[in-house]
Subunit: 465 residues, 2 copies
């Protein structure tokens, strides 16, 4: 007989009295003096386990009494109204088959108690069995599905930009090298440099830091596109917000200006937050109860509020007049730090802000120069409780302006030949943004560290599993 | 005024007489002696361009007559019934704004003529503007959305397994190294070996060849999971079926045996083929007309037919009795080659085959040993017209059997400690398969070379863009 996911039982998809089989892992077992046992059985399909009643007339009741946290079982039984509090339905077992025991329960790392997130990280292969990482996994899936759905419904095409690249346009020196050369026997050229022409790709190759430049080539043909894939930074940052390997979503839209892309960012965030609240109420209730009491209410606020548009220049004035002491001084031309962003979003406005038109000197070469020749058409979304969550811009589509900017920044036109071609052949205004997926999952769940919202985090000194 | 995608015009979502604005690129321009011009305008939203009628009373009609393939324009005009054949609707322009010219139209690489796929590959940043690569891009997107939807509807969770890994369990020596060490100044240990403890991850690290072992950890907690991400092989294979970087889909299912996973593979292929035929009839008609006349009919056949289950041992008998001369000799114990697979699927059965229970000596260490102790619970899906498209297996969940197998194969238990933990703590029967996404896209479109169904192909000697 096919088995039934626990979520279907708890949602009442099988009538009382129906015979069902569920398969999963024991979260806890409790024996009653009345000669029966209660087993909380989870299978990952939803937050709650289902309660299984094992009466002492089961032929292997003695075996059942030896079940410990983590054992795997197949339970056949009858759906019944639950007499205890909490769940409406439970299963009275007619048969319990033990599929797998736990070797030495006393040392099983995932015993049924609260573990620190640091301890769980050291057992990344077992931590999905816990409440917290199970809930994170379902939220992460829900967000990714909602993102794909959001773009698909609006006529966007998913583009898989390359992971390995010999083009280091955006590199800033923080790239991982990809190679098959024998390191103990490196080929050298006549200048004593490593001869990468003998490497697998015939050139020095790296892991991508962003799919943006690549995906612009598709925006300039398909109009509406987005990436959703892994990106890499070889930054030696041991913080709760940095990973060496993380997933990014980067929509790119032809014929869109800064205002269009700001609307897209606002619509997308609201759409995916709604999806989480509707589809994963069980997990969100857990996060609100155990991780961050505002986890649900702050998403509701973002959904209900209009994002406030604010110019960088106005923001500087507001910060200067605020009378607040900031660790980093405020002056036109500086990059906003997290304390500034959070003051503006949390205290001054009390809503998400779309901050626009930043000084060109603190922004990337590809952003479109505004008419003042001092600022660029860039925007960041600053959310209360986290600060910057999205960064985007209109791209410089005017070849002459772009070439001047490359020259100003001391960059070589030759290195950007294919990117310049997009401006030479039927150039169009276009805009896009980037969203770090792990920061989004951390924001939604309230988890403090991005290492706990990705299955196997990669950080300086750590690439296990 | 917001602009309208071409697909909405062609689908009749704007009534005749309505004023619309469309934005896109000129595919062709043809001037009539009657003093008007016909512009085929595409924006990537569907296969067909929309026809724009430019009458000579437009104030910039002289400029319009200079438009060439690839120029970008914004057209405002009236939706009208088309008098020509082909499309039902066209746009009579009241205004045509030229957004971007093509620098030197005579040398524009994407001129409106048939290009070889090899030529297009050398202009990967411009090729999405062609009919063929535009169609591939929409099909690729359609397939990826359908795959996510298929699993999501069935309660599977998407898991992003790591790209960088220090674990080379599945490596077979064909892995790319990921490093930030200065190659001209490598740290060495006292044995003269490279000291990877000083590298970014503190160990020698590689690009993953498969997410399977990692995703098994999630199957053993969440029950139904799948990966969809990039994988890498440093194989020096310059064939039409190999890429150094390609995307894989790998579902992994707890409490599932070989038969369950075979059903899942069959259901998934039928589901995504249906999605393509329903959602991308325009692009599929093009592929049937220009690339492979069977492109549509062979998908329809796969959808309609039951996949035939066949044991490897029976297949060997059939091949030996076939009277066919094969290049590679047939004997029990050999790996089936493409000619064998295609004979079985195309000539002998005339339907997709699920080939099962292969000799253990030609299969991986993690596959479940059958009771005959000679074969493993492995399965491949062989499709007419392509051969193997999916490979999967039931995993060995019995710790003692697994350990004996490691020993037989000369593998070190220590290297598999976290994988073994899944068998030590609440082990369950589980199964999964892998599908190479580019081979799927190539099969659906009829494209001969996987390099033409991924945005920027990575192959030996090639990682441009």
């Amino acid at each position: 007989m096919a088995h039934t996911p626990v979520v279907d039982i708890l949602k009442g998809q099988h009538a009382q009295g129906a015979t069902v089989t569920v398969k999963g892992w024991v979260r806890t077992r409790r024996d009653s003096k009345a000669g029966l046992s209660f087993i909380a059985l989870h299978d990952g399909s939803c937050f709650d386990p289902v309660q299984v009643i094992a009466l002492n007339n089961l032929e292997n009741y003695q075996q059942v009494q030896k079940l410990t946290t983590g054992c795997s079982v197949a339970v056949t039984g009858t759906v019944k109204a639950s007499e205890g509090q909490g769940q409406a339905l439970e299963i009275e077992a007619t048969q319990i088959e033990v599929l797998g025991w736990v070797e030495n329960p006393d040392t099983y790392p995932m015993a049924a108690k609260r573990h620190s997130v640091e301890f769980l990280r050291e057992h990344a292969h077992l931590r999905p069995r816990t409440n917290v990482i199970g809930a994170v996994t379902r939220i992460r899936n829900c967000l990714s599905q909602a993102i794909h759905r959001f773009f698909h419904e609006r006529g966007y095409f998913w583009i898989s930009t390359p992971i390995v690249t010999a083009s280091d346009c955006e590199g800033a020196g923080e790239m991982f090298r990809v190679s098959t050369l024998d390191m103990l026997n490196l080929p050298k050229d006549d200048k004593g440099q490593v001869d990468f022409s003998q490497d697998f790709f015939g050139k020095e190759a790296f892991l991508t830091v962003s799919g943006q430049l690549n995906v612009e080539t598709f925006a300039c043909a398909m109009s509406k596109v987005y990436t959703f894939g892994p990106t890499f930074r070889a930054e030696n940052s041991n913080t709760s917000r940095h990973l060496a390997e993380f997933w990014m979503i980067e929509p790119e839209v032809a014929f869109a200006d800064l205002s269009d892309i700001a609307h897209l960012a606002e619509d997308m965030l609201k759409y995916v937050f709604k999806a989480v609240l509707e589809e994963r109420a069980d997990d969100m209730a857990f996060f609100a109860q155990r991780i961050n009491k505002d986890a649900i209410s702050r998403l509701e606020k973002v959904i209900d509020q209009d994002f406030v548009r604010m110019d960088y220049t106005d923001a500087i004035n507001i910060l200067q007049k605020s009378g607040k002491k900031f660790e980093f001084p405020v002056a036109w031309g500086v990059d906003l730090s997290s304390e500034h962003e959070r003051y503006l979003a949390e205290e001054h406005v009390g809503a998400p802000i779309i901050m626009q038109n930043y000084p060109k000197d603190i922004k990337a070469f590809y952003m479109r120069i505004n008419d003042d020749n001092k600022t660029v058409a860039a925007m960041d979304v600053l959310a209360p409780g986290i600060g910057e969550i999205i960064g985007g811009s209109q791209r410089e589509e005017r070849l002459d302006v772009f070439d001047r900017r490359l020259e100003e920044m001391g960059l070589d036109k030759e290195d950007y030949s294919w990117y310049r071609d997009l401006r030479r052949y039927g150039t169009v205004p276009h805009s896009g943004f980037g969203l770090g997926f792990e920061r989004l999952v951390a924001y939604v769940t309230g988890m403090q560290n991005v290492r706990d919202v990705i299955p196997f985090p990669r950080t300086p000194g750590s690439a296990s599993y």
